[in-house]
Symmetry: D2
Subunit: 351 residues, 4 copies
């Protein structure tokens, strides 16, 4: 009953197999192997465009380096106030951009709205030296609350952003989970909807440590090879990341993993909502469930081996009031979650 995070789950078999397959022999270092080349091609095929691809090994590096590519001196990145880049990542976006501001905006359950974005543009207007330079927006797809932007929402936000000449970044740490829910294509969910650059995550979805910064607008990629290396993120034996991507894309393994994780989360959410005493607080659109559970039941489940974390309820809507006896919890499913495990958990809770 491991629902603490999708990054507790190790690696899935096709990924380990691909890694094992590429262990032997000599290959050029620093991303110049033929395997590394072929991975770039796979991304281009997948995204149906001539994008530039730079693999890295942590999501924090992907986000922070991506943002460094679109923020000049004193840049401002508009994002949801709960965005990972603003709340988590230990100041990496600020540090690796040499001090850009992550400007938090409102929106229900992790999603930026056009109105919130307009407010942000007013708060940090262009051309005013005191406020720094508006640079980019960053959308998390899926969001910190496991919710998902549909294509028209992405398009609208992108259009507002491009009107100002700013860049659109997507934090796709859970890209696959969002994509299978929307039943769309990588291209549709990104550049065809106005996304300029993407942090494409595989780690939470079955890889060991495989992420990529994908530039659809290649102008932003100009110095990126130096940005990556200067932050210590150019791997000498880079084929070990490339190999993970080989396994990840093979036979649509990545989509299978995401579909499974999402299905498990849906099952879990439905189980909780079917009770009279638990309730999810926002739509379960990816692999994360945010639920109000009586504290005693949550603690009992935890003492019987369920692993999951409570979650700050500060971000909740005013309408959603928790009683003293209730807690807000996050439960995350992954490729390794099983129906049996979820049944066992629901049973523990008394659902």
């Amino acid at each position: 009953m491991f629902f603490a995070s999708d990054n507790w789950a190790g690696a899935s078999d096709p990924i380990m197999n691909a890694l094992a397959r590429h262990t032997d022999g000599f290959e050029p270092a620093y991303g110049e192997s033929s395997l590394c080349d072929s991975i770039e091609t796979q991304f281009q095929t997948l995204f149906e465009t001539d994008c530039s691809v730079f693999v890295v090994a942590t999501g924090t590096a992907a986000n922070a380096l991506a943002l460094s590519a679109v923020t000049g001196p004193a840049g401002t990145v508009f994002c949801h106030k709960d965005a990972h880049i603003r709340v988590d990542e230990c100041g990496a976006p600020e540090f690796l951009t040499s001090g850009a501001r992550m400007w938090g905006l409102d929106g229900k359950f992790g999603k930026l709205t056009p109105r919130a974005l307009e407010t942000g543009f007013q708060e940090v207007p262009q051309g005013v030296v005191h406020h720094g330079q508006p640079s980019a927006i960053s959308l998390s797809q899926a969001t910190e609350w496991g919710t998902i932007y549909d294509l028209s929402e992405i398009n609208t936000l992108s259009a507002l952003t491009h009107d100002k000449g700013l860049a659109v970044h997507m934090d796709g740490a859970r890209f696959a989970n969002a994509m299978v829910t929307l039943e769309t294509t990588p291209a549709e969910m990104t550049w065809k909807s106005g996304v300029d650059l993407l942090s494409f995550g595989a780690t939470k979805n079955g890889a060991w440590c495989a992420e990529a910064v994908v530039f659809f607008n290649k102008d932003y990629a100009r110095d990126f090879i130096y940005r990556r290396k200067r932050a210590g993120h150019l791997f000498s034996k880079m084929r070990f990341v490339a190999a993970q991507f080989e396994g990840y894309f093979e036979n649509n393994h990545w989509l299978d993993n995401a579909r499974h994780a999402n299905a498990m989360a849906t099952k879990l959410a439905e189980g909780l909502d079917a009770t009279s005493f638990c309730r999810t607080v926002c739509p379960t659109q990816a692999n994360e469930v945010f639920a109000v559970i009586p504290k005693k039941l949550a603690e009992k489940a935890q003492s019987n081996g369920a692993v999951f974390h409570d979650w700050p309820s500060l971000g909740l809507d005013g309408k959603e009031r928790l009683s003293e006896d209730e807690g807000l919890y996050r439960l995350v499913c992954s490729f390794r979650s099983t129906e049996a495990e979820i049944d066992r958990f629901l049973n523990e809770i008394g659902a």
Copy 2:
């Protein structure tokens, strides 16, 4: 005939096996698994002291983050003028320290001398705001020229450094290669000789991507967890690095790999020196050979499949003059090099 670099060699079997062994199941993320704990214990046992250990995944990250822990504002790090941190690493030490200076000093074949260090201390004296703050020295063991400091040399340099209240950093990207040559212990080659913090490399010696910053002086480690994360180097599924170390240390695999690589380099060096037309330019003390080879022979070997790079001869001693027809080349051996491969190469060269 792959002698381009030890990082072309993929991963060795015990490392892949360990990784495969730890793929399944759920484990706490971000370095809190029991495997991660046990790796720290293994380092402590190996180094015979209560050191603090932070695993990372690139040598550049290890060096740059380590130096950030010992440099305050406007820090200066004294190092050999050919040191990796000064010449390579794409400014990562400067960037991740927020601007420390890597102050290059003279010395034969990559080794700092006490006299050169004294010169450095004169050039950047303490307490002069214009020059910034002398902070640390950094020794590469083995050096960029494949040479090795013996224990008394490390002790002497450390003592001079500690007299000034500065820190002693060792860049141990090829730590194992140096250690087996010296037939010493990890403790002797580091803290017992005055080293305060170490970049411990495993990647060049058979791992995929496993490095560690080891603090013998734990005062310097105080904020390190934040330094690592803020640069994007805290891995969520960190057990994949820990597992590599498990395989690395098991049955002294790391020492076997290093001994083999060194032996191969020695064989290669002896083969070249045995000719009348090739010569090594510095002692082959680790797994790297620096040799003068007639250009025509080198090119012929390359066209027949030998892979190795020419090397800037700028660092050479004045006495060592190359004729127009000669080139300086670096040849690196690894755990994967074979006697047959070396024989074939020597044969190609006409040795």
Copy 3:
């Protein structure tokens, strides 16, 4: 009718006189003149304690460098959401701290409340690597809204902050204006109320460009001389800043200037509030007036030579609704403002 900002007002005579007095002759550079020494002593006398004093020449430098001294890697500074360090200063605090986060909190008219601070401490808890390191709070005295913390408020916030082991910074760009309102002493308003370090501003109150970072907790000052120089803020002919401070403190010139500016602002506020169609939106406690004025009247005054800016009404209380025809404006008085000028302005407005 110049109410755009207190920094439009040039320098006051005692300051120019002091500067002229110290123009001739040779003096040691870089802050080592006897004048510079005597200024430090004057600060110590004024603040009744053995503080460390570092003069700089812009308020942004003072704030950003001060914060750099109390934020380790991935630091977080808690401040009001309207604080100058968070909204203005073009990312200087983020840049000069190498990426600290300015964490905005709620509070009426620029003032942090204990409850808001507790919320901040929950949002960025200590010891969680993902959130970075809580480091300091920053209070603006006077605030961006011209309001003032009384001593008990400073004490309460300081106590909460020290309980967590964090530092208390005061942005005193308008320190004098606050002090004369509170009728207190420099010591009472700072270290006796728990302030650890202060950006002491003189520029807005009659100097050309004279600011100082004052450390009451001298532990934080350890590396400051390097921080200042490394950012280009160590002046070679530093006596030109010191001289300004000499003129500033002489015969309580600084308090006279502040008292005058505050009195002018009060007169202006009272004049506006006496009308039926204008109203101030927050207490006028220093030298700034924030008032709702019918747009037509404001524009008429502007076209007749009054200079002042509209102000974002986003920060207003929900209860304070502006009609379509009304605007929110900021009017700032200075040592150079005159009663006649204010009467003329009120007359223009139709008060």
Copy 4:
């Protein structure tokens, strides 16, 4: 007998007079006053081109910010090994560029040679991610040794640099001193000789604190307003810098000051060289004299009130050997130096 540095000399009268002239009244802040505009025009007239001008208040800020405008991620700036940006300035160039490397090259008495530059280009070739990005060269005119590049030398170095697509920066902390020696024009010594951007210093030549970054290639100026502000170098009452420049340029005051300082230095050098026991070690081409003086005589003069510093002899040519009893000293003249003072000093020395 003050020869410690030209920045011991306070401000000259025309500069204080101009400052006094602009003290009163209200003017737009942050560089938007008409005085600030007129200063930009004066620079454009002086340099005979439509340059962009950004005033700052320290030479370190001018250099470091200028270099930040021409260095992307992991930039390398080629400069003489004795250059102020590399040896002094407390790491400001490294810090404000977010980690660029100041790459020191050889050359006699502070002057880069084409050959040294070619060596630098070999050491840090373009397009090699490990070495970072070659970005710019920086020439000091006059140099740290008081020597001067003639126009053809500047042209040659610029051409080599532009061939690589890099920028040419001139550190003109002593720009006026060089210009009067060459009897040339500002335009000839800069953009007509290939200089792309200039740190134009006035502080050492009679101003309090007035420097400017002048962009002849305006592409590099694009974000500069943000760079300046983000480092805390945008002054609110910026007219105090502008006023200094007004006084500086008026009636060619700046050239008079420089001519005087140079003449005093020449007199001093000739006086020393006329003895049998003192000798200058390099040509006295600006306002600095570097001389070997018997230590006993130097100390006697110092104890009788002469102020000057010894200088590291590490930079000396191998041929120039000092005996044990001799010291190398730097003596700097300024607008405030007098013939009487120099005669007195020579007399003290026994010349």
